[in-house]
Symmetry: C2
Subunit: 350 residues, 2 copies
């Protein structure tokens, strides 16, 4: 059976979920949907698929304490501590260079939410089987609405298994974030999926493609790993070598260049929880669309999300509004305005 190692990428800070997400306690480490944090859910999702090997977490020094607190001594889990943030191509390369050539990496962001873990598991197994055949596999997330904040994958010919029984497709085209008209066209046409940043790669195949398309990047990461040091379950790449690594996404560096890009369709209640509106949509809500956490009283409200870590919040007569109370900061935004949270003075100057 294919062996799969989850590679959990634990980077960004999520300023668009300020003030709950802050530099000192970023988005992946918050229980935004349900009891567990997004990072814990990412680990649990993989652990529940019984044949997954222990996870490798790639993170930075700033997040290390949170990662280790929330790993809770998961048996066999390892942590790679990036000396600097260098985007996803380098992060995945670090993990690849610490794993056997034949291992399948299942690369997962740590700040997304997936409601349907069974669907995730099924897609992961398909993707791993395709990866074992030498495909570089993206999860193609069922596009439910004309989102302009995601890249899209266009589905090509079927691939995988002798008779296509693995359910994969070639990626015919990678499309950057479209405008609304184009996104609506994608939805109407069908055959397009969101690129959610979840990948399955055979380690050796990934490294071969990286060396082919980004030789300098591959070489610099290899030197950082060669010069790195182990510290129990932690691995510290060499900072000087890693400083020379180009900062590039795996999509640009590898996926858009390889001839072996494939995708598996995944309809699994996915959300990147990219802003407060997205979080509201991922939360259980009452008949009026309201969701409350902490002390609150809502009167004549529809589609209102209210969270308070202390004071009682009383809300009257609002629709499509989000209210957050977090210590010394209070945010009240229209759902449409949620996109601008990251640009607020409080979010910028944390």
């Amino acid at each position: 059976m294919t062996r799969i190692t989850p590679v959990i990428l634990c980077g960004g800070s999520g300023t668009r979920l300020w003030p709950r997400s802050r530099a000192s306690k970023p988005k992946p480490f918050l229980p935004l949907v349900g009891e567990e944090t997004l990072f814990e859910q990412a680990l649990l999702r993989c652990r529940e698929a019984a044949h997954f090997d222990p996870a490798v977490v790639v993170t930075g020094q700033a997040h290390l304490a949170h990662v280790e607190a929330q790993l809770c001594g998961l048996p066999g889990a390892r942590v790679i501590v990036e000396p600097a943030a260098k985007n996803t191509a380098a992060a995945i390369a670090l993990a690849a260079l610490r794993l056997p050539e034949d291992e399948i990496m299942l690369v997962c962001p740590s700040d997304h939410h997936i409601a349907d873990c069974e669907a995730f598991g099924a897609a992961a197994r398909s993707a791993a089987a395709l990866a074992a055949e030498g495909w570089l596999v993206s999860f193609g997330i069922e596009a439910k609405s004309p989102e302009t904040g995601f890249g899209y994958l266009r589905r090509g010919d079927g691939v995988g298994g002798a008779n296509g029984e693995l359910g994969g497709f070639k990626v015919a085209q990678f499309i950057e974030k479209p405008d609304l008209a184009r996104a609506e066209q994608f939805l109407a046409e069908g055959g397009y999926a969101w690129n959610g940043g979840i990948f399955a790669f055979r380690v050796g195949t990934f490294l071969d493609e990286l060396r082919e398309h980004r030789p300098r990047l591959a070489e610099a990461v290899a030197r950082a790993v060669a010069g790195g040091r182990e510290d129990g379950h932690r691995f510290h790449p060499d900072p000087a070598a890693f400083a020379e690594v180009e900062s590039e996404s795996v999509d640009y560096a590898v996926m858009e260049n390889t001839a072996r890009a494939a995708m598996v369709p995944a309809d699994m209640g996915w959300s990147d929880i990219g802003n407060w509106q997205a979080l509201h949509a991922a939360r259980p809500r009452d008949g009026a669309g309201n969701a409350v956490s902490g002390k609150a009283e809502l009167v004549d409200c529809r589609n209102v999300l209210v969270e308070s870590d202390g004071p009682r919040v009383s809300v009257i007569g609002l629709e499509d509004v989000i209210g957050m109370v977090d210590g010394d900061e209070i945010l009240v935004t229209s759902a449409a305005g949620a996109q601008k949270v990251g640009k607020l003075g409080g979010a910028v100057n944390q």
Copy 2:
């Protein structure tokens, strides 16, 4: 020259301005518009009209500490401490029975805002002169909008002075809070004014009318005063006698029954600050109609009022919304919903 004693009524608690107004610090004692509290402004307005005598404040035990703190040793000011709240007829009667028969009482609520103090002074002098002629005078506040929360006065024939030079009118009709259609009709027709609860009475005339129309009430208040005790500038009516006093407004008890009801028109930027929306309207606002007090950042907002006594409040994309932060309570309401604030759990169970 007519001698005028301001009689400041300091009763209600203002639950519709919760959470800023609370049982422990009610509306009259808050600096809701400008630097002074509404109570202080009521005193100052009268003091600035140079020929007013020192004020008499009628209040209850619950408000006494606030009243005395904010009187700031105003020379000659006296306080009548009601043993129980018995509405305005009894409160005014208490003050009347402590003043000379020929004195003019200018009865003022302590929880309203008046932007134009000169116009107030002019109306007060007219009203006092009419009262000296034996009229019971209401301020008829220029109706600026079809409010359904106020009673209305319909203007009758001109009265006052040999040639009507005091600018008063008989009150042709007292109208209770109308519905919207009727209020709009009043505005369209003209000749209607809001009844703002400001009155001028000659003491002896008021007491005569009270005795005629509410003999039991007048008698019970007289016994409470006869059995009362002085304590420096304070006067405490007899609680047992006062307990028997009927609770009735001066409008019902006297104004709607007397044949000598008159009014003076008053266009003086009056607001009863009856709820958060009214307060917002009384505040200085920026070009987008926003008003902020305390730490706040507003983005894409119109007609938003934000006040915080501590945490920063960041607001995006809202219109006609009021946000209040007061210690352990936060209120966010649509302007239209401001009417319901007094019914919130927090406001009811303070």
